[in-house]
Amino acid sequence: MSVETVPTRATQPRPPRKRRSGARQIGARTRAQRREAIALVVPALLPILVFSIIPLVSGVALGFTDATLRRNAEISFNGLDNYAELAGDHRFWGSFGIGIVWAGSVALLTLVSAMGLALLLNSNLRFKTLTRVLALIPWAMPPVVIAIVWRMIYNPNSGPLNGILGWLGLPGVNWLGDFSTALPAVIVVGVWAGIPQTTVLLLAGMQSISAEQHEAAAVDGAGAVRRFWHVTLPALRPVIIAVTALDFIWQFNSFGLIYVLTEGGPGGRTMIPPLFTYLEAFRNREIGYASAMGNVLVIAILLILSLYLINQFRQNKAVRA
């Protein structure tokens, strides 16, 4: 009788204690169900609302104000003033460019290195279980510890990298302090930290490719390289695109690693946008202007996401056609 109103529990008879007359029963049941659903959801929804959705909305709104962190300061909307100022802010756009280089390089290099590792782990080598465990190490380390270790490795006066260079008779390099090497050096750390997760995802994708496909290709005389290009890679395409898009966005938003490694230095060479925005908000205390920067970053990320979604959509269409 109440099949339409409560489809999820349509087949179950009601407990006898709630038996009432027809119309009232439907109402009571729907209400009881709604109450149940609310009781299940509200405890989780409350913190989400207060600490995620409200800040998100007010963060977007703050980007259109002249707010500062000073207490009791008057906040007023200033329309697009922040964006007009931002458009001419060379330091911000410089930082934006560094962010793109950083996130793009880390995402692509991580993909390539993780692909190699996943292929090795997916083959019939020995010590596979051991290597799988060891390969997860960077994932388990706290970002701050990762940054501390790599600062030690890159240390010009006591790091093993310069130690090896010295041993080879080459002059030492101030890896994190030199204008030309700082960004590549932090990119290497980003790749190092990103390999495990990407490898796991690629490996999962590879294991869902059927063995028959490989065998069929092998029977046709395809070598390992050709099998990779013509069987593995096409089958992994959706995973690769998703992982790389996500990696790019995560790296573009990342903060801790570079903050501890270089704090944006030397001379702003590793000043990725979240760091730049952080300094603007909490050192210069200009939170309105910083939120405007945040809004620009959101738009950039939405653009990247929409490219990804369009790609995904086209592909689905192609599959169906």
């Binding site: 405890p43 997860l136 395409r237 996500l246 945040g294």
Partner: protein
């Protein structure tokens, strides 16, 4: 198909695998070795993975630093409480997401996805203001509430997968017997969900334990610092002379995460995360 691989091919693969392992494993080994080195050896350019003379004083020096102990205590407290609250709040919501159809589920999924790609930097500014107006800024409880909120997308998504794997027939049978929704949740779902809950709880613990950025912004008083913040302040203030204790502290901070990752290793490589990206 692998029979056709020439012997040198296999050899090259082992070489490549070894190169990967050295690249991925070396930093942790170096940190471990640095934590046992004397200050003199730490400040030299000699590349010794095995310390010339083992020096355990770095660990005692690290543990004697009062702020590091306090920070470790703060971190344990924050990670444990975050874990408990997150699991308690996520379980019913995950159940609702998995079982109830319609707009709630769609909205939940969209929110989970959005929160994965949204820049924290935009949220942190108003979040700071919200906490300040609730008088929760610069408190561990405020930080815990923020951690709960920020790990929930992941825990909800993980848990609802586990719930969806439980056949609804079991619940229907219980319902036939007249059990209410919450009795079912407690007596049918909870026991079956236990492995999923444990894995989720461990993940929550690690992410709260490792977290840096939110703690950096939200905590100002040094006595409230969590371990990552304390380690980082260690680094800024004293530079090279304290490398040994810093390395020891960093190792101590890594151990809990390493242990939990070791336990969860099967789940990680078993493709628990694979569902996320299968297009």
């Amino acid at each position: 198909m692998n029979a056709r691989r020439p012997w040198y091919g296999t050899g090259l693969m082992y070489v490549a695998l070894a190169a990967y392992l050295i690249f991925l494993g070396f930093p942790l080994l170096w940190l471990l070795s640095a934590s046992f080195k004397s200050t003199r050896e730490l400040n030299s350019l000699a590349v010794n993975l095995i310390p010339q003379n083992w020096d355990f004083s770095n660990y005692t020096a690290a543990l004697e630093r009062q702020n590091l102990i306090t920070a470790a205590g703060n971190s344990i407290m924050v990670a444990l409480v975050t874990m408990v609250i997150t699991v308690l709040l996520s379980m019913p919501m995950a159940y609702a997401l998995a079982r109830l159809k319609g707009r709630l589920r769609a909205a939940g999924t969209v929110w989970i996805l959005v929160s994965q790609v949204f820049p924290t930097i935009l949220i942190i500014i108003p979040l700071f203001l919200v906490l300040r107006s609730l008088q929760l800024n610069d408190t561990l409880f405020g930080l815990i509430l923020v951690y709960v909120t920020f790990t929930m997308p992941f825990t909800l998504w993980m848990l609802q997968g586990y719930v969806a794997a439980i056949p609804p027939e079991l619940e229907e049978a219980a319902e036939m017997d007249g059990a209410g929704r919450f009795t079912i949740l407690r007596t049918v779902i909870l026991p079956l969900l236990a492995p999923g809950l444990v894995a989720t709880a461990m993940f929550t613990f690690v992410s709260a334990w490792n977290e840096f950025f939110l703690a950096l912004v939200l905590l100002q008083s040094p006595e409230l610092y969590t371990l990552p913040i304390a380690l980082r302040s260690f680094l800024g203030a004293e530079g090279q002379t304290q490398l040994g204790p810093l390395a020891a502290g960093a190792i101590l901070a890594t151990i809990p995460s390493l242990i939990i990752f070791g336990i969860l290793q099967k789940k990680l490589t078993g493709g628990m995360l694979a569902g996320a990206v299968k297009g």
